[in-house]
């Protein structure tokens, strides 16, 4: 299972903060969106490559994931049955980074949301 406190890589964190500036969507919410978009794609995290979760924004797991916490954890476990704790968290962070890539430059909420539908 995911650890209780989680963080992202610094780059992603900056991107999310910027996105919040454009659209008003907070980093935790945009992280959730990014994760689900990524898990739906073919992208898979390779545990062999060490992923740096060096962001300064350390939040509770429940803050990060909200109502999607259960599903997120189940999806991760289902996708990566062998990973545990820290590695699982890195997988989550990696999915967020992958999922946000196509959204991070949306300049307003209307365009962002339209992109999601």
């Amino acid at each position: 299972m995911l650890p209780n406190r989680m963080q992202l890589s610094r780059t992603v964190e900056e991107q999310l903060k910027k996105l919040k500036g454009y659209t008003g969507v907070t980093p935790n919410v945009s992280a959730r969106i990014a994760f689900f978009r990524s898990i739906e794609s073919d992208f898979r995290y390779n545990p062999a490559t060490e992923y740096a979760t060096n962001g300064s924004l350390t939040l509770d797991k429940i803050t990060w994931l909200g109502r999607t916490q259960e599903v997120t954890e189940l999806l991760l476990k289902h996708t990566y049955p062998d990973l545990e704790g820290k590695q699982l968290q890195q997988a989550w962070a990696a999915h967020v980074e992958h999922g946000i890539a196509s959204l991070r430059n949306q300049k307003n909420i209307l365009k962002l949301a339209a992109n999601l539908l």
Partner: protein, 662 residues
């Protein structure tokens, strides 16, 4: 002056209207001056005299000088009693038509006096050439010019009362009349006028400082004028400034109008709309964010989530099988025993059969593992979460289209606001307008101030000019005063001397005329008497042959009357005034000799027109026959005892009787 016609209406004993023709008739070249009225006592002879006196002398006709109320009372008493009784608003009126030469013009004049019970008199005066828009006072003045009040008594008199003239030794009676008749009063008046003139002249005594005051005032006046002119000039310069400011104001107002004053008004409204729209958009955005914050992200990974659910469903099934197998295996031994007993078979064999069944039929595929292991409750929660996610996706779609619509409205609104006049530009225009307004008000204030100053200076200059004029006049007075005093005093001296000489001359003439008249009227024994008149008191003294003065008080009533007639005749002749003579009861106190003289020598010669009011005992048949050649015509006044009123008919006592007999 000749009386032409006397009209009396409701006057004293005369009820109704009575018109008397008084004009003397002529017999060829001979004139007949006497108009004779015969009437018994109380018939109304005196009424006729009174009417003439009233008409010509006004209130001076009374023996005393009455005030307004006394005069009104007197007049109301002169209203005929019968007429008063019959009609409370009856009016008395008397009117006299006469010819006279007034101010060099000969003409016919009519005086009319009318009054009612209240005694309020209305005078009218008519003359062919003159406009009669005159007040009562003015009319009285004109009449007084024709017949001076002092003289009236000498021409229209009661023969009995005239004796008073003879008894008067104070001169009061005669003095005024004589002075007036002889024109001496004019000198007196001139003297008084000169005094008045001197007083007026010396009133404004000028002092030595006036000269200095005048120069000071002149300087002041000049400086004030210059000041006023300067202020006016300044005001004239200021005015164009105001005009140009006003012009600029009107230009600005025009340009504000051109830039769409109307839009400026709706601008605020649009801005309000914009704001509310922005708030709405914010709300919608909030909704979007809220949706994103919920279950929505699940909908982004439908396949992954489906696969997850397949897994979970498989695990659920697997778990159910495993628990059945466990329970079944736990029961197999007991089940095998019961089955072998019932079927009489080997217990161990049945047991093996059952176990083998589970393994083959209830077998669990090797690849199926329970990796996620969630409870049924959790599974159901996830299912509802997935439903929420789908629902949320639909909601988000709606919200987004809402947002798109709002934003497009906002866009067009913003565009309209952007097309509006630049607020900043308008603001600057308005500011400029306000500035100009203030400037105009200020300039106006200054302009007004300057104008007021100019006016003040002008007023001061005018005041100075007025004072200057006064001073000039004073100065003039001072210079002319010396001359005036000298001239007046010399004139007054000359006048005094003239007056003295004139009086002496007149008195001498009067003495001669009196002596002539007296001798004509007196009896033989008095013929040698001469008269001596005091030039100051005008008292007449009779002097006998020895030069002794005869005391007039010692004269009889008849003698006094003769004496008075003589004075009157002398005065009348000396004055040169040609006035009719009206005498009432002319012969009352006289003896036959004196009557004879009067009839023969006085009446025919007294004037061009002599109106005699006589009783039948005065001018009796004898006298009448003597008088007749001189009588123009005669009237008889009859008193009716029943109506207590009189009427006048032509003729004299005996004339009428003769006519009746004939």
């Amino acid at each position: 002056m000749i009386f032409k016609k006397l009209i009396m209406q409701n006057f004293r004993v005369f009820n109704g209207k009575h018109s008397l023709d008084l004009q003397p008739k002529k017999d060829g070249l001979l004139s007949k001056p006497i108009i004779l009225f015969g009437g018994l006592n109380g018939a109304g002879k005196t009424s006729i005299l009174t009417a003439i006196r009233l008409l010509l002398l006004g209130r001076r006709a009374l023996s005393f000088i009455p005030n307004n109320k006394e005069y009104a009372d007197y007049l109301s008493q002169q209203l005929n009693n019968k007429a008063k009784k019959e009609d409370n608003s009856a009016k008395a009126s008397i009117s006299l038509e006469f010819t006279h030469t007034h101010q060099g013009k000969h003409g016919v004049f009519t005086i009319n006096r009318t009054w009612g019970v209240d005694g309020k008199e209305k005078i009218s005066f008519e003359h062919a050439d003159e406009n009669s828009n005159l007040t009562s006072e003015q009319i009285q003045t004109i009449i007084s010019e024709m017949i001076p009040p002092g003289i009236g008594d000498l021409f229209f008199f009661d023969g009995e009362k005239i004796a008073e003239l003879a008894e008067d030794d104070t001169g009061v009676y005669l003095k005024e009349a004589v002075q007036k008749l002889l024109g001496l009063d004019i000198i007196e008046r001139l003297n008084i006028d000169l005094d008045i003139y001197l007083n007026k002249e010396s009133e404004g005594k000028a002092s030595a400082t006036i000269q200095k005051e005048i120069t000071d005032l002149q300087k002041q006046k000049e400086s004030f004028k210059v000041e006023a002119d300067a202020y006016k000039e300044q005001a004239n310069e200021l005015y164009p400034k105001i005009t140009s400011l006003r012009f600029e104001m009107s230009q600005i107002e025009k340009s504000i109008q051109e830039r769409g004053g109307a839009f400026a008004i709706t601008r605020d409204e649009e801005k309000g709309k914009q704001k509310s729209l922005e708030r709405e958009i914010d709300t919608i955005k909030g909704k979007v964010l809220h949706e994103l914050d919920g279950a929505f992200p699940l909908s982004l990974a439908p396949n992954a989530v489906n696969r997850l659910f397949q897994q979970l469903a498989q695990e659920k099934e697997l778990k159910a099988k495993q628990s059945f197998n466990e329970q079944f295996l736990a029961q197999t031994e007991k089940l095998a025993t019961e089955l072998s007993a019932a079927l009489e078979a080997d217990g161990a064999q049945v047991n093996e059969l059952l176990k083998a069944y589970i393994v083959t039929n209830g077998g669990i595929r090797a690849e199926s593992t329970i990796s996620l292991d969630i409870s049924d409750r959790e599974f159901h929660q996830l299912e509802s979460l997935r439903d929420d996610a789908n629902e949320s996706k639909a909601k988000l779609g709606n919200t987004l289209s809402e947002l798109t619509a709002a934003e497009s409205v906002l866009d067009s609104l913003t565009l309209r606001i952007q097309r509006a006049p630049d607020e900043k530009e308008l603001v600057s225009l308005y500011e400029r307008l306000r500035e100009l307004d203030k400037a105009v008000a200020k300039e106006k204030e200054v302009y007004k101030d300057v104008l007021q100053k100019a006016q003040k200076s002008m007023t001061k200059a005018l005041e100075s000019a007025k004072r200057l004029e006064k001073l000039f006049n004073q100065q003039k007075n001072e210079k002319s005063l010396q001359k005036a005093v000298a001239r007046v005093s010399s004139t007054q001296g000359a006048l005094q001397e003239f007056s003295k000489k004139l009086t002496q001359l007149r008195v001498a003439q009067l003495e001669d005329l009196f002596a002539l008249a007296y001798r004509k009227l007196a009896r033989k024994e008095d013929l040698k008497l001469t008269a001596k008149i005091n030039p100051e008191t005008f008292d007449v003294a009779l002097v006998d042959l020895d030069g002794m003065e005869i005391n007039r008080k010692s004269l009889s009533a008849g003698e006094k009357q003769i004496f008075a007639f003589a004075i009157l005749e002398a005065l009348g002749k000396l004055s040169g005034k040609v006035l009719p003579v009206v005498v009432d009861t002319p012969l009352g106190r006289l003896d036959s000799k004196h009557r004879d003289k009067l009839i023969k020598h006085y009446f025919p010669e007294a004037g061009e027109q002599v109106i005699l009011l006589s009783t039948d005992t005065e001018v009796d048949a004898d006298f009448y026959s003597i008088l007749q050649p001189e009588v123009s015509h005669a009237f008889e006044i009859n008193f009716d005892e029943t109506t207590r009123c009189s009427s006048v008919t032509e003729g004299y006592f005996w004339e009428n009787q003769k006519a009746e007999i004939a």
